[in-house]
Amino acid sequence: MIRHRMRIFFGAALTVLTAAGCRTEAHYIDPGGPEALVTVSSVDPAEWRKVAGEAAESLIASGALKRNDGMEPVVMIGRIRNYTLLHLEMGLLTNRLRQAILASGQAKVTSATGYGGNLERAVRRVRGIENDDLFDQRTVMKRGTVVAPNFSLAGMVIQQNAFAGRTEESYYMFHLTLTDLATGIAVWEKNVDFAKQATRPAL
């Protein structure tokens, strides 16, 4: 009887120790590295980086940001429409694209206008103080000094899901377009796509 109880006790202790050993402390990971989670149902950090990286490389390599009219290239980050059923934070993509364009030295990026966000509000607000005697009017930004964009970067993301038995597959395609605002002609386009698949357990 005692031996039986001892067996149960040691078995329970072993189970508790094993379960405790499975715990993982919070730790830092490389957001685009192999430790990062890969899910079928969403766009993961590594994929945002992939899309931004491939698009930025293609745009910088293309030479599409060069202008023949002598004007300095200025890019407005437009809307990237989300045609998926997911809530996607497009800032994860557009912020990287802004940085890549600026770092390339091929064009400037405007914060004065664009889709969404609050980047452009300060440019307009600061001109609202032009009659405020609190401010030295010589230091107040004047009207007619903001440089207008001559390129617009916009796009869309599309998702398609497929199921076959216990296997689920998600396909995502990002499509980006750079439009010359003087002519309305698309001067650069890029698709970045990826697909992910997972099979649920039978039980």
Binding site: G32, G33, A52, A61, L97, A103, S104
Partner: protein
């Protein structure tokens, strides 16, 4: 004696069956090449002997793009074809072979330049497949690069 014969026949049948399951890439190219690529003399620092043996660096080429930045393409071929290699990769769940790669770029002062693309990218190699891992410099001042390749453990 009869049993040994049966074993041998079964082994041959299994080998033929497995060999028939090979899903390798076969290629044809024009013999007289018209291209005149600008080859890059490279030196490699390998720490993963498995990755080194499974992927062969065929060539590395560079050019300057219309945007005035340097572009590099590393032609890499999967060496995981042949009966034993296919058998092993099938058993270990590494067929096709998933790798991650990343380009790091240096400016004229040797300083690493941060880029939007400075992240691990995925590449999936079927046995015998050749792929071109491509990197574009973030600006026209970058002339030197490091290509890092590692196995993707999350894909096993």
């Amino acid at each position: 004696m009869k049993r040994q014969g049966l074993f041998a026949a079964a082994a041959v049948l299994a080998a033929l069956g497995l060999a028939g399951c090979q899903d390798t890439i076969n290629t044809v190219e024009n013999r007289d090449l018209a291209m005149t690529p600008s080859a890059v003399d490279t030196r490699a620092f390998n720490t993963d002997s498995f990755c080194r043996d499974r992927l062969a660096l065929v060539s590395t080429r560079s050019t300057v793009t219309p945007g005035g930045v340097m572009m590099v393409q590393a032609q890499i071929r999967s060496e995981r074809y042949g009966f034993w290699s296919e058998l092993w990769s099938g058993m270990t769940g590494t067929n096709p072979y998933h790798v991650l790669y990343r380009f790091d770029w240096m400016d004229e002062n040797g300083m690493a330049v941060s880029t939007a693309a400075n992240a691990w990218q995925t590449a999936i190699f079927a046995p015998g497949e050749t792929k071109f891992l491509q990197g574009v410099a973030p600006n026209s001042r970058c002339r030197d690069f490091i290509l890092s390749v590692r196995e993707d453990p999350s894909a096993k």
